[in-house]
């Protein structure tokens, strides 16, 4: 029989509500697992066992008293460490914020608590969410549960690894250029980047505002839809929040894709895509055809400009966003006598930020500077328009677009870290959804000959998360990847 920590949120919430198990037992079961595997996986920056157990007991009391509990009652959850949690360390995996304790909860955290979810800790990530491997964390790399010598993907690597290793049942990540979908693909779990504006960013430590969304990481499509239903919705505290009605997305889960038109962009299988990934994802696409979907080729010609456009925009926004780290209100500051503000500030920012963060701030400053603004930043924004037009056009003929999430399988820790450009290239298939604001999900799609996970990405038109869930669910029901567990002892 599976242990409690191995169950899905759907199964667990039901057992807790029926009083077959207590929320406390579930939380303790996760911490037992954490104690066993965390020294190998290193998915967390901070664990809050005492507080989690206390919260679980409160939920058990409510249930015993017949009081209403939420949709996540007793479900153990990890929250990425760039999402503010009241009175709990929130470091962004950076030296700069190593001691930062937010005085408030992000809206998404408030919503999870309101629905009875129990937060077990803060998940490791690439520093300031800048990376695809979770190697740039100030606190050390997270490792892939399927192969500890490989990266878990990033930047939400801790969130995905914790879910894959059964240390938690659900997790929140954030996705600026693929940071949820990449680790979901690399750890064989489900991850969604929703339509821009559907999830409040209030309390998310900003990296590139116009691109990023908080989103769910889960063991199943149902769980993914469940957590998304909880965290999505209008929030007046986020001025880019879209006014929509709250929806229960679990209602859209029917294992039926008959007649659905799926487009396969030829550009998703370009020269950078590995043969093994190509083979597995095509097998997945054929599976969807077997289930009744109608496939034809799509074309997104501007996709080849994704990387420069995405990085120029992200770096520019980052250079402006990260200017706030002046060591005055919060963050790293050395006690030093003398020197003017600018010099003191520059020295602290050198020590407080790691290499990749500094690279992006400096290149972003360059792209926004006089004489280069038109050449780099404005040009990237215009290319963004072209990529968006390609998507708009493609969705006139298709319900969803399907392809690989990542062009290559998980690589070795240390393999690419000295080569920033090689790491940037990993975002080539995920960043278009951020540039366009379209929703995209990554679902498990099999394993390479080395037993490393590969994910399939399903992209839908804006506000059609229901379609990503529907196709993902049908695929999940027709395959057996969900039940496979990493070989961690």
């Amino acid at each position: 029989m599976p242990k409690l920590n191995e169950l899905t949120a759907q199964e667990l919430a039901q057992k807790i509500l029926r009083r077959e198990v207590t929320a406390e037992e579930c939380v303790l079961s996760c911490f037992e697992r954490i104690r066993r595997v965390e020294s190998t996986v290193h998915a967390f920056v901070t664990l809050i066992e005492e507080e989690a157990v206390k919260r679980a007991k409160e939920i058990d009391k409510k249930i015993a008293a017949g009081k209403p509990v939420g949709r996540l009652a007793g479900v153990p959850i990890a929250v990425k460490d760039n999402i503010c949690t009241d009175d709990v360390l929130t470091t962004c995996s950076s030296h700069m914020l190593a001691n930062f304790v937010p005085p408030y909860d992000a809206t998404v955290v408030e919503k999870i608590k309101r629905e009875g979810g129990v937060i077990l800790g803060k998940a490791n990530m690439d520093e300031f969410a800048m990376g695809v491997s979770t190697e740039t964390s100030y606190f050390g790399a997270t490792r892939n549960p399927w192969d500890p010598s490989a990266v878990p993907g990033g930047s939400s690597g801790g969130s995905a690894a914790a879910v894959a290793a059964d240390e938690v049942v659900l997790a929140l990540g954030s996705d600026t250029g693929g940071s949820i979908r990449c680790p979901a693909s690399y750890c064989s779990v489900v991850g969604l980047k929703s339509t821009y504006g559907l999830v409040s960013r209030y309390g998310l430590i900003a990296y590139a505002n116009s691109l990023e969304q908080i989103g769910p990481v889960a063991k199943s499509v149902y769980d993914c839809a469940l957590l998304f239903s909880v965290v999505s919705g209008y929030d007046s505290k986020d001025s880019t929040s879209v006014k929509t009605e709250n929806k229960d997305y679990t209602r859209f889960l029917k294992a039926d894709v008959k007649g659905l038109k799926i487009g396969v962009p030829q550009e998703f299988f370009g020269e950078g895509t590995s043969g093994e990934v190509e083979k597995l994802v095509w097998r997945g696409i054929h599976k969807l055809e077997d289930l009744g979907a109608v496939r034809s080729e799509a074309s997104l010609p501007s996709l080849k400009y994704t990387i420069p456009a995405y990085y120029l925009i992200a770096m520019s926004e980052a250079s402006s966003n990260l200017a706030r780290y002046d060591g005055l209100r919060y963050g790293y500051r050395v006690r030093r006598d003398g020197g003017d503000w600018s010099t003191v500030y520059s020295k602290d920012r050198r020590k407080g930020f790691g290499d990749e963060v500094r690279r992006r701030i400096i290149l972003g400053t360059y792209a926004l500077s006089v004489g280069y603004y038109d050449k780099y930043y404005l040009k990237a924004l215009q290319v963004r328009t072209l990529i968006r037009r390609d998507f708009e056009k493609a969705f006139k003929s298709f319900d969803v677009l399907v392809g690989p999430t990542m062009p290559v399988p998980p690589f070795k820790i240390g393999e690419k870290i000295e080569d920033p450009l090689a790491l940037y290239m990993c975002d080539v298939l995920t960043a278009p959804a951020n540039l366009t604001g379209y929703p995209a999900i990554s679902v498990p799609c099999g394993f390479t000959s080395n037993k490393l996970p590969v994910g399939m990405q399903i992209t839908a038109p804006p506000f059609r998360e229901d379609l990503t869930f529907q196709v993902g669910y049908a695929f999940e029901q027709a395959t057996e990847y969900k039940s496979q567990k990493p070989p961690l002892k």
């Binding site: 005085p103 821009y196 504006g197 040009k379």
Partner: protein
Amino acid sequence: MNKRHISKEEVEHIAWLARIELSEQEKARFTEQFNRILDYFKKIDEVDTKKIPPTYHVLNLTNVYREDKVTPSLPPKEVLKNAPKKEKRFFRAPRIV
């Protein structure tokens, strides 16, 4: 690498504008990396964007207004709790002039 896009002096200047100190070794390393990156980024030069408007934001939002209503805010003690240096109810800043 065919062409140098950015010199070490420029990197030094931009880093100063961004208020990030770099060691001599870092200046050299970053300059080399930036040139490789910019060399790849120049790919977008080939796109004809003369008549293409920029997409700053996918939602096409302009200004978002709300009622000017007073709502509870954090107490000063909470606001100051993460400040590396403070005095009474103030953040303590280094000398500016």
